[in-house]
Symmetry: D2
Subunit: 147 residues, 4 copies
């Protein structure tokens, strides 16, 4: 979360966080562009920031006894990002159910708003021993932006 992080509800009424940062050099590879696995860590930073802007950061969730484990991941690569590009990650809570939730992501180049990568991740709620549990009601309220 930086001063530039934003939170709003999109046209479909879904909660969305926008996170902005610059490509780091170590995220590039020998093809001269950002390595495809780096975007996966950007998705994670997007949803981290989502939890921060709604006032319920992952660290609080963990303290409350709940983690989110990734069970599915998908990405489509449209254009490459390059070192020093400023990018914007848009993270949308697409679906929130009793035991799992799905985020969708768009990574755009800040300079011209071109879509670079899109994707999604599905997560289940687990306790600290890794056992699947229902999403805590307090967490559900917060995630839905009704906290």
């Amino acid at each position: 979360m930086t001063d530039e992080s934003r939170f709003y509800h999109n046209a479909a009424g879904l909660p969305v966080a926008e996170t902005r940062f610059r490509v780091r050099y170590h995220e590039t590879d020998a093809m001269g562009v950002v390595h495809h696995a780096a975007y996966i860590t950007w998705f994670e930073e997007g949803r981290s920031d989502f939890t921060r802007v709604i006032g319920y950061p992952y660290s609080q969730m963990a303290a409350d006894g709940m983690d989110l484990a990734v069970v599915e991941l998908a990405a489509r690569y449209h254009r490459p990002a390059r070192y020093d590009d400023e990018v914007v990650v848009t993270t949308c809570l697409q679906e929130l159910r009793s035991r799992d939730l799905t985020f969708t992501y768009e990574v755009r180049r800040a300079a011209d708003d071109v879509l670079l990568v899109s994707g999604s991740s599905r997560h289940i709620s687990v306790d600290h021993s890794g056992r699947a549990i229902r999403i805590l009601e307090a967490v559900r309220q917060r995630l839905a932006g009704r906290g």
Copy 2:
């Protein structure tokens, strides 16, 4: 490619490479298990090894003027890998077309053959300027295991 790398055709007649290595400590995260993005780099190591065992490593492909750019990626996480686990990545060339190809992956724990993560990646053939090109015929022959 290590002495333990294997290459064969599976029951469906598709070429498969098996790669074996140990989980590195830096691949873990604060949940005590391997971070979900690390498996994406294992998929890449799996297909790197695939190209090595067929005698046509990526480095040769690049020297011949062709790169493979990732355009789609998917993963399902079944069980976590942990530090020091020995894992086996099975990489299968699922589909080979004129301009793109698809690999599928299974990551299993060597000790008990339990499936940890499965996934796929689709790649298009590009020249060094990033423009989409047809897969070179020589490359196609090699990839199909008919080199």
Copy 3:
């Protein structure tokens, strides 16, 4: 470089950049804290930001035909950073010579200014083929903050 990046000369008259960001989850390891190699990428982000705030980003340097190759690296670890911590990297251009330069770094936790990690890196100037060259005079002026 964010709105919070700062540039100034320290008590010894040396140019310093301050960069602020949050710890990403994938930077942690199974000990529950930030992995020691992650700080090395933060040092890099610190000097990247240094070049941005002086108006001569690495990307421009590369376009002008010069890269900086790391030849020595040192770090001391005082306290661990944790997920979600906001940290400040202070990057100082300690020495600037005809063919090499040295940056020093301090990583502090933003909340209480506690020193987490300190270190240094020495770099030589190379052309795109990796051959050592003199630092371009224009680059020297800029790096020294006299651009």
Copy 4:
């Protein structure tokens, strides 16, 4: 540890482990060579392998209530490694004291034995809460290769 891992005492009588693996693609950066932070994870893999070949892996050490925390790190970069290079990491237990120990490392290209990177790391013994403790006597015996 692979079938190719070796353990011996060097000319100075110090215990040494040799670990062999190939450069992964994601370890490269836009300069076309291995990123300097990747070698730091190779040092770690070297000492992980050291603990495996002496029959006392980190995972066992952790189960026995002791971790090794990095307190100092140094590296010198002589020549770059490239994608697909086979490398050999030589890890030597240079010094073993009551509360801390130091490993030194050499990374060489397997094809021609050229030295690529050398370095060292100093570690203190900590319990799971991160408090400094004496190195357990059983661990000392094992690390010294007298287990």
